[in-house]
Every structure is written in structure tokens, then in C-alpha cells.
């Protein structure tokens, strides 16, 4: 048999004979099952909400139909009809909840100014949100490295402590290879548990094995590869069990807990987002100012964007729906700059977070996983853009009726537009994973150098 292979089998057997390994891997597995359950529970509630939207919308229309048997002005129907829109859930959202616990799943909009409706908060318990969620991505990012470090930090130091390292390395023909096989066995054991959890999740939670799912799994292994390299370096660089244990604990605490907490504060302090407040206050002021201004002023700001209605008859009555909706559109127009600024501010913040995350792989992993699952900020902002587009479609439907002063009858309700979520591809480029690749190469190079320093150049 190939000596490396037999060494591999021998080391695997040896690992599986240690109770500590069983305890660590078993805890990881149990925590993982809990994570799968928690992710599934959270996402299935959101799925249920999305599933109920159509029925709730239909009930609203029915109530309206009861109220206006013979139909009424299209503008009045538009005033009372809220249309549901939702951010679709990917299967992978069960593995990586991302922002989905703070961003609302559904936004209800009507023909009034969109800017006052778009940012409506969902329902959530801030205490639980602040504690964070326990999904598979968290398990992989935070707990899997912990187990790996526990199993691998003392690969050399333990035997050195026991005084048998020289003996072992003298007997092995390739002490380097012995070390690498040991490291690999441990990494594969942790990776196997994570993959098993992924498989269990796919099987029981109806996650389809599409390219996105395979990509998620690939990211998982890439991420673990980084930690394997880090664990390898700790194991060769330290000369005693307590030193390697201290180094392992320090690395884990710094990257999983401390750095993300510092970065979080830094980003919030450096990128304050006040545009949302500005937008809200201003939009309300602009819309309501319309009531006190001559109607021509409102239309003068409305027509440039909607030249198709500029020949509409002037409004001479106190109230007209076309003027009312023009007023709302002008309100939206007047905060267009703030709305763009808000979006850009969030993207700038996100970019800063991604740059900082280079220094904290667990945060970087969270970004990768939530991007694959489309539960990240990008996906949410894209969703808001789709809601905006849907609002335009509502205008496309209602404006011709409103400007022609037409009525809508309950029989016409079936023609009302409904929201169709856009199919969205997750942005994922191999280049985005560069920091992990680079980290692996650098760590591996250091490990190699230390390894050579310890055992001399390869004999053989």
C-alpha cells in the first residue's frame, strides 16, 4: 500500500480513538443540527408570510369590492389598495439567514409616494436580533474553526512535551509528511462533519442542489482550508502545549469575536447613515406642501417627467385624484437625491465592511455565505429597486385611468398588476475570494518554512 495512504488510515484510526475528538466533533454535529433547525424555523415562517400575501391581498380587494359594488373612481381604488411585494427566499437562506431577520420579507405599497412606504420596518424582537442568529453559516464560520484548532494545535507540541517527538520524527521517513497527514486528517474530520450537516440540510429542508448550493459547499471548504493552514502554522510554530493552546485561543477570539466587534463599531462610527431620516422628514414636507400651493405649481413639476399627461384638463375643483397623485410623485422626486444618497451610503458602508473583513476571515466567511444565499445587503437593496419598479408599474396601470377620470369596477380587479420577483443571480466571482486564497498561500508558506526549520530539509 502507498505509505502515505497507510499513514493516513493509521492517523484517522488514532484520531477516532481519542475521546476528546469524539466529544469535539460530536458537539459540532449536535450544534449543527440545532443550527439547521433554527435556520429552517426562521425561514419557513418567512415563507409562510410570503405564501399568505396573495390571499391577504385578495381579501383586501374583496372588502373593497363590497364597499364599491358599482365601481368608483380609479384614484379611490388606488388609494385603498395595498399591493404586496416580497423579497424571494432562496433555498440557501436556511443555511445563512444573513440580513433576513432585520429586513422585512414583504413590503406593502400603494400608489402614494413610494419613499414613505419603502423603508417600513418589519416585526422583530430587538433583543433576539442583537444576540444574533444561530444558522449553519455561523456554525461553519465560528464553531468549526474552534473544533479544528482544538484538535490540531498540539499536533507536535503534545509529543514534544511527552518527549517522544524526536523518536517519532526519527522513525518516520518523512516527518513533514507525517505532520501534514495529521493536519489533513483533522481538517477532513471537521470538513466531513460540516459537509454531513450540509447534506442533512439539503435532504431534510428541501434545498435543491443547484450551482449556488455547490458554490456554498465550495466556499465552506475554501474557508476551512484557510483555518487548516492557520492551525498548521500554530502547530509548527509553537514549542509547548500551552503556547500552542494560547496561540490557538488568541487567534480564534481575535478573529471571531474581537476584530468583528471593533470593526462593527468603527464602521458605524465612520459611516453614519442619517440619509434615511432626512428623506423621511423631507418627503412628508414636500408632499404636504402641495396642498397649500396652486395646483399648477405641482403639475409644472410633474409634467417634465410625465409629458404624456401634460395636455390633461386643468383641475378647477378643490380636489382631483390626478392632482393628488401628481403631488405624491412630486414628493418622491424632491427626495430622489436623498434616496440615492441613502443607497450609496449603505453601499459605501458595505464596501468598508468587506475591506475590513479581510482581516477577520469569520466575518469574510459570513459575507461569502450570505451572498451565495442572497440574504445580504446587496440582495436587499436590489429588492428595494424592484419594489420601486413595481410601483412604476402601478402608475402605468392607474395613471391612464386616473387622468381619464375613469371608474374601476370590482370586475376589473383581476387586471390589477401584481408583483413578480425578479430572478436574481448571486454575484460571486472567484476574485472576491482572493483574500482567502492569499491567506492560505501565505500561511502555508510560513508553515513550510517553520516545518523545515524544525525537521531540516526533506530527507528522501
Amino acid at each position: 500500500m502507498n505509505p502515505t495512504l497507510s499513514l493516513f488510515i493509521w492517523e484517522t484510526r488514532r484520531l477516532l480513538r481519542t475521546p476528546a475528538a469524539w466529544i469535539a466533533l460530536g458537539s459540532l454535529l449536535i450544534a449543527g443540527l440545532f443550527a439547521l433547525g433554527s435556520g429552517a424555523a426562521k425561514i419557513s415562517r418567512q415563507e409562510k408570510e410570503i405564501g399568505q400575501l396573495a390571499a391577504q391581498h385578495a381579501a383586501g380587494l374583496q372588502r373593497l369590492a363590497g364597499h364599491f359594488h358599482d365601481g368608483t373612481h380609479a384614484g379611490e381604488i388606488a388609494y385603498y389598495t395595498f399591493f404586496p411585494s416580497h423579497q424571494p427566499l432562496t433555498d440557501l437562506a436556511r443555511f445563512s439567514i444573513g440580513l433576513r431577520d432585520v429586513a422585512p420579507s414583504a413590503v406593502w405599497v400603494r400608489l402614494l409616494g413610494i419613499e414613505a412606504q419603502l423603508y417600513e420596518a418589519g416585526i422583530g424582537n430587538p433583543t433576539l436580533q442583537a444576540l444574533g442568529h444561530f444558522d449553519l453559516a455561523f456554525l461553519v464560520c465560528a464553531l468549526a474553526p474552534l473544533v479544528l484548532l482544538m484538535l490540531a494545535h498540539d499536533l507536535l507540541t503534545r509529543e514534544q512535551q511527552q518527549g517522544i517527538l524526536t523518536l517519532v520524527s526519527a522513525q518516520a521517513r518523512w516527518p513533514h509528511r507525517l505532520f501534514l497527514v495529521r493536519l489533513l486528517v483533522r481538517a477532513l474530520a471537521v470538513g466531513a462533519v460540516c459537509t454531513a450537516l450540509f447534506a442533512v440540510g439539503c435532504a431534510t429542508l428541501r434545498v435543491s442542489l443547484d450551482p449556488a448550493a455547490w458554490g456554498w459547499l465550495a466556499d465552506l471548504w475554501l474557508y476551512l482550508a484557510w483555518w487548516t493552514a492557520a492551525a498548521g502554522l500554530i502547530a509548527v510554530a509553537c514549542r509547548s502545549v500551552s503556547a500552542s493552546l494560547t496561540a490557538a485561543a488568541t487567534t480564534w477570539i481575535a478573529t471571531v469575536v474581537l476584530l468583528p466587534a471593533i470593526f462593527n463599531l468603527a464602521v458605524v462610527a465612520a459611516y453614519p447613515v442619517s440619509e434615511g431620516l432626512e428623506l423621511t422628514v423631507r418627503q412628508r414636507q414636500e408632499v404636504h406642501a402641495g396642498w397649500d400651493k396652486p395646483k399648477e405649481q405641482t403639475f409644472a413639476r410633474f409634467f417634465p417627467g410625465r409629458p404624456e399627461w401634460k395636455d390633461t384638463a386643468p383641475v378647477t375643483t378643490r380636489f382631483a385624484y390626478k392632482w393628488y397623485y401628481a403631488m405624491h410623485e412630486v414628493g418622491d422626486l424632491s427626495v430622489a437625491r436623498e434616496a440615492t444618497a441613502y443607497r450609496e451610503r449603505l453601499l459605501a458602508r458595505q464596501a468598508a465592511i468587506e475591506r475590513l473583513a479581510w482581516l477577520a476571515p469569520p466575518a469574510f466567511g459570513q459575507i461569502l455565505f450570505s451572498r451565495r444565499a442572497q440574504t445580504d445587503l446587496d440582495a436587499h437593496l436590489d429588492h428595494l429597486a424592484h419594489v420601486r419598479a413595481f410601483h412604476e408599474r402601478l402608475k402605468g396601470f392607474f395613471y391612464p385611468l386616473v387622468f381619464a377620470e375613469q371608474n374601476l369596477k370590482p370586475a376589473d380587479f383581476s387586471r390589477l398588476p401584481s408583483f413578480v420577483p425578479a430572478v436574481r443571480e448571486a454575484h460571486s466571482s472567484t476574485g472576491g475570494r482572493l483574500p482567502l486564497f492569499a491567506g492560505i498561500v501565505v500561511l502555508a508558506a510560513f508553515t513550510r518554512r517553520k516545518l523545515h526549520a524544525r525537521f531540516g530539509a526533506a530527507r528522501a
Binding site: N125, G132, L265, T280
Partner: protein, 476 residues
Amino acid sequence: MSPMRPFLPIARAEWRLLVRRRGYATLLVAFTVLLGIGLGLGALRQGRERAQQASYQKLVRDQWDHQPDRHPHRVAHYGTFAFKAPGALAAFDPGVDSYAGRVLFLEAHRQNSANFAEAGALSSAFRLGELSPAFVLQTLLPLVVIILGYRCMARETESGRLRLLLGQGVSMRVLALGKTAGLGLGLVPFLAVAGAALIAGVFLSASGEASALFSRIAVIGAALLLYAIGWLALTLWISARSNAGATALAILAAVWAATCVVLPRGAAAWADARHPLPTKSEFTARLQDEVHRLGDSHNPDDSTFTALRRETLARHGVTKIEDLPVNYSAVVMQRSEELSSGLFARHYDELTAAMERQNTLVRRAAFVAPILGFSALSAAASGTDLRSVAAFQREAESFRYAFVQRLNDLHRDEIRQQDDKLQRLGAGTWREFPDFHPSALSLKSALAGSAGSWFALALWVLIPGVALVRTRFRRA
């Protein structure tokens, strides 16, 4: 010889050893720097937030005062805003502030949600917590205790000095107490820095009366002390039970990761699955359903309001609405606001109660993860917990109700029924309206029901403490 005699020398020796260690000063400096950064940036952010909130409140007031002549119901739809200021001690413990909406639109007929929470604008990448003084004390202080103390007892076993000491007639209890005292003394500078950060946090946040602030400091300080002593006792106990320092460190690090990182999230997930909240759409649909059953207040002929019409006509001794000395549509709207506001209060109270149920479960998890006990007390005393967020929402709602009803009063008494919508009230009318001044939740109501957290922290001290005093060292 009194059995307690070697206590002082043991404590002194342990303390000397500790403070002369190479890493001690570094650790103290790192701890201080982290606390300082958390406090500094936190205070900067809280201050900015407070200033921003005040300037928007002023802007909105300005806009309010400069309204032209308007119909009161128009003004009721124009509405106003309530801005959520950071909690009393937010610079020390931001608690759930980042997850609470910051701006709430107050208008006639509906209760809105507070929007633009900081967290909605943040990637989930850093959701493992935000560096704040409270975070440093809750999450990192235990690590300091572990690092300083894990070898404390194991060292004696490892080196074989233990047998020597026992042979000299030192009792195990005296040895444990001496070591505890020594390590405790070594921790004093850390706790002093923590206390300074707490006090500085209070003065940097500075809102509320001084006496209340002192009780807040006292509450957090007491919880911190229990929490730290518990970790101290646990560290020494594990150290005593381990035959090598590395083993003690491995066990303590695992306990720390489990109780400070894993279990809190697990508890949150558990509470969320156990007592699920209604979804926003469900909640709104149910609420709207009941509101619709109240009738349409913009339509004075709505059948729901016939009783009101009879009653109003009778009160004024007339038979026709046109003969009423008051504006009947305002009377209808007033009744409708009264009814719907009651509905809002009930539904939102139920929602808050559901969240409280979840929080109770999380607080109960403090018995396995004491950090949850400490953080619950700290956020409550800092005015940054769920309860203060809910209190803000409630106060804003009662302000909204009073404000809309006052406009309805004006509508009823000052606007004639004929050509109702064509009439206006003078611009000066609006200036007499009060501002929204939310009052901070009192410490007493913030801490109501927190006995469980105190009990959990007390057990956290007691169990490892008793175990330590009764411990037998592992013989090497």
C-alpha cells in the same frame, strides 16, 4: 497555630507573582485601551445621534410652526415625527439601540412602525457584537480572569509544591481562599478601570437625573462584581481540578466559548422558535380587519356610527345633523380615533408581550450562560433594552392620540359643517401644540421582573465558590 495563619502570605505571594508576570501589564493596557476605544467611539456616536435627533426634532417643530392656514384634519394627516434618542447610558451599553427604529411618523388613523434602525443598514458580517464598554466587560473580562488565573492552582500540582504545602499543614481551604484573594487583588486594577469606564459612560451619555444615574451605576456595578467573582471562582476551581495548566486553559476556553458565544445565540434561536412572533403582514392584516369593522370615519353616514349620531343629536336637543352646533364629521372622527387607538394599543401591547415572553426565555438561559443575566441587567439599567424601546413606542402613541384628538377638537368646534373642507384655521393655532418629550423609563420599571437574572448571577458565584472551597486537588 491558627489554621488561617498562612492565608495572608499565600494571598500576598499569589498577588506578587501575578503582577510581576510579563503579560500582566500588557493585558491591563490592552483591556484599558479596548474599553477606551469602545467608550470613546460609542460616546462619539451616541453624541452625534443625540445631536441629530435634537436637530431633526427642532426642524420638524419649525416646519410645524410655519404651517400656513390649514384645515385641522389636513394637519392631522400632515402629522409629526417622534425621534428615538439613544438610551440613558447608551455610550456604556448600546444594548438593542442599533436594532430599534429611529424615526416614527405620527399621523391620524394609524400607528406606524419606527423605521431606519441602524442594523438594517449593516451587513450581517459583524453581527457578533459591537465593541462597547459593556461588551468588553461581558465578553472579554472573563478571558482576562481566565488568562490570569488558569495556572494559579494547577501550577502547584504541576510543580509538586502542593504536596509540600499540604505537608506543612496548610489546609486546602486556606490555600484556595488565599489564592482567591491573591487573584482577586490582581483583578482590582481591571475592575477599577471598568468602574471608571462605567462612570465615564454615564457622564458622557448624561441624560436623566443624577440620583437615578447613581442607582444605575450601582446596579451595573453590582452585577459586574457578581459576574467577575463567578468567573474567578470557576477559574480557580477548574485550575485546582486540573493536573496541568494547559488542561485548565483548554477547559476554561471551551466554557467561555460555550457560555459567551454559542449559548446566547442558541438561547435567542430557541426563544424565537418557541414563541414565534406574528409576521408583519399577519399583524397588519389582523389589525386592519378590526379597524375596518369599526367603520369608515371619513363617512358620517357609516352604519357603525348611527348610535353615535343618535346620542349626539340627543345631547344637543336637535333632530338633524345640520342643526348641530358642532361639526359632526369631527365627532365621528373623534370616536373612531378613540376606538382605533384602543385597538392599536391592544395589538401593540400583545406584540410587546410576545417579545417579553421571548426575553423571559432568554433571561432564563442565564442559568447556563451567566453573561445573559449580566447583559440583561446592564441593558435594563442603561435604558437600552426592549422595554425602553417599547416604552418609547407607547409614549409616542399616546402623544399621537392626544395630538390627533386635539386637532379633532379644533375641527369639531372651530370648523362649520357647511363647506367643511374649504375652511382653514390660522397659522398661529399650530404653535400652541406641545412638543414630544419622551421620558426615560424609570429604573424601577426597567428592572421589574429581573429577580431571575440576579438569582442566576448569585448561583454563578455560589456554585463554583462552594465547589472551590470544598475542592480536593488532583494529585499529580
